[in-house]
């Protein structure tokens, strides 16, 4: 058996080594023009990254925002749209899981709308709201609703019948049963759904913002217009890192609510 501390240190060393090799290979390939001409190398990208991160929150008008400012704009849209979606999806999911009538009347819409790219709703949002900010939130709302809704409904439908029997045998009413039994019992399902919802929302916001102006997605679009590929790589790194943190947060919550042995 390997010592745990040594094994952790080894894993870390391997990761650092692989990163170094990647950075060097990238630099060499770019410098030699092996891919295409003028492809930014890793050194240039890292320099860019340091530049953007050292002063992240400047604001010189919509086409010249600090990367932190853009990131916060995107996060704000995601958080609002996502929270609204979760607030709708959980009660609706519980209803669908509990009632055959709700299930059979709502399920066709869910099944039909779930596979549609949320970006298809973007023109609809623009037409209805005439406001790019609200449209962005609306698109995230549509994006986030399905995984949480479906997981919640599934959780309720597959809840351990023992819990419901205990609750019923004690004469608990519907409200107590939902609040004190069903909701805690399906927390793992809800969180799994919320995690997928967040992941998808974070994917979609970048694409949506290319069409909406401001935000990290628009930053990428803007830098494409500036033909500044290294800045696009900076954005990719920042987006990836933020998505990773968000996902880890839900991973942490899922561990907290893991009732199994």
């Amino acid at each position: 058996m390997m010592n745990k501390a040594i094994s952790t240190r080894l894993t870390f060393a391997v990761a650092i080594l692989s990163l170094l090799i990647f950075i060097i290979l990238w630099q060499v390939i770019a410098q030699q023009g092996l891919l295409v001409k003028n492809f930014p190398g890793s050194f240039k990208t890292i320099a860019s990254l340091i530049w953007w991160v050292s002063d992240p929150f400047f604001d010189n008008g919509p086409n010249d925002l600090g990367i932190g400012t853009n990131l916060l704009i995107s996060l704000r849209r995601v958080l609002i749209g996502y929270s609204l979606a979760v607030l709708v999806a959980i009660p609706l999911g519980v209803l669908m899981g509990m009632s055959k009538l709700a299930q059979s009347s709502l399920n066709p819409y869910v099944q039909l709308l779930k596979p549609v790219s949320p970006l298809a709703w973007l023109p609809v949002g623009l037409f209805v709201f005439r406001n790019s900010e609200i449209t962005g939130i609306f698109v995230i709302f549509i994006t986030s609703i399905w995984p949480t809704l479906i997981n919640t409904a599934f959780g309720v439908a597959s809840i351990n019948p023992d819990y419901l029997r205990v609750s019923k045998s004690l004469g608990a009413n519907k409200s107590i049963t939902i609040r004190r039994v069903i909701l805690p019992a399906i927390m793992p399902n809800i969180l799994a759904g919320m995690r997928i919802s967040m992941g998808t929302a974070w994917l979609v916001i970048v694409a949506a913002e290319m069409l909406l102006g401001t935000g990290i997605g628009y930053f990428i679009w803007n830098e494409w217009n500036n033909l500044s590929l290294e800045n696009i790589f900076v954005a990719i790194i920042i987006i990836g890192f933020t998505g990773f943190i968000l996902d880890q947060f839900f991973g942490f919550l899922q561990d907290k609510f893991d009732y199994s042995i």
Partner: protein
């Protein structure tokens, strides 16, 4: 009348606590195809029929029968968790309409809520049944019942940290905490090892002696039924299972595990039960 002399002090209490009158249950399936193998009514599955039974107050009654005959179904009906298709369940002279805190139910899989600690599981029952009680009252009472099953130290543990026997003790404490006068148990010790089972059987007996409760116990263990019960009810194999026999166990209490096994009365009933179970189980095996 020596069998109840320790339990029943006045003859007034000696009336029937629970009465099942022509009780029947048919499960109607929503399946889209017809299962040709299922016997009986094509539209439904008749689990039990024409069940008539009287159980006296504060007695200990076991129900025994081949697996799948409808014992759990019967217990769920008495608990009010399912509605009978026909017949009535009469408790203290009143036909029941659903579940109620007069009956504490104990399930085979303990059915503890995994997101609640031991004491919170009991508090949940108390809060549900007595919404007017104060927090402190509820906590105190939950503690008292945990103490009763010897688990006061485990009050802040989660079910996953407990052994099967400890979980079942929490479930017993939860069922008793609401102060029911009837305890309904569905194979409560079936999943436990032999030693834990004996220990919990003794504990159940001592609880039963101290708290005035009528116990209905589903079991598949002949020895368990004989050790614990005043009366053993035998069910026939399903579908359409009926009560085929009721046997009084006229053995003095307290019963000593080793000693009663030598008792000729014990052996006589045991043989009768074994024969019955063998016959009914054979009937099941030959149908399927």
């Amino acid at each position: 009348m020596n069998k109840k002399s320790s339990k029943i002090s006045t003859s007034i209490e000696n009336y029937s606590h629970l009465e099942l009158a022509n009780l029947g249950k048919i499960f109607f399936k929503e399946k889209k195809f017809i299962d040709f193998r299922s016997k009986g009514n094509r539209r439904g599955f008749e689990a039990i029929k024409d069940i008539n039974l009287k159980i006296e107050k504060n007695t200990f009654v076991s129900i025994i029968g081949p697996s799948g005959c409808g014992k759990s179904t019967l217990l769920n009906l008495i608990a009010g968790l399912q509605a009978p298709t026909s017949g009535k369940i009469i408790i203290d002279g009143q036909a029941i309409k659903g579940p109620g805190p007069d009956r504490g139910v104990i399930f085979q899989n303990y059915a503890l809520m995994p997101w609640l600690t031991t004491i919170q599981n009991i508090e949940f029952a108390l809060n549900t049944v007595f919404p007017a009680k104060t927090k402190a009252d509820v906590k105190e009472r939950a503690r008292k019942y945990l103490r009763m099953v010897g688990l006061e130290k485990a009050s802040n543990k989660f079910p996953k940290e407990l052994s099967g026997g400890m979980k079942q003790r929490v479930a017993i404490a939860r069922a008793l905490s609401i102060n029911p006068n009837m305890l309904l148990m569905d194979e409560p010790f079936g999943a436990l090892d032999a030693l834990t089972r004996s220990y919990l059987q003794d504990e159940l007996l001592s609880i039963w002696r101290k708290n005035k409760v009528t116990v209905v116990l589903i079991t598949h263990s002949i020895e368990e039924a004989l050790l614990l019960s005043d009366k053993i009810v035998l069910m026939s194999s399903g579908p359409s299972a009926i009560i085929s026999e009721e046997i009084s166990v006229d053995l003095e209490r307290p019963r000593d595990r080793e000693k009663i096994e030598q008792d000729p009365r014990y052996l006589k009933i045991k043989m009768r039960l074994e024969k019955h179970l063998l016959r009914e189980t054979r009937a099941v095996e030959e149908v399927t």
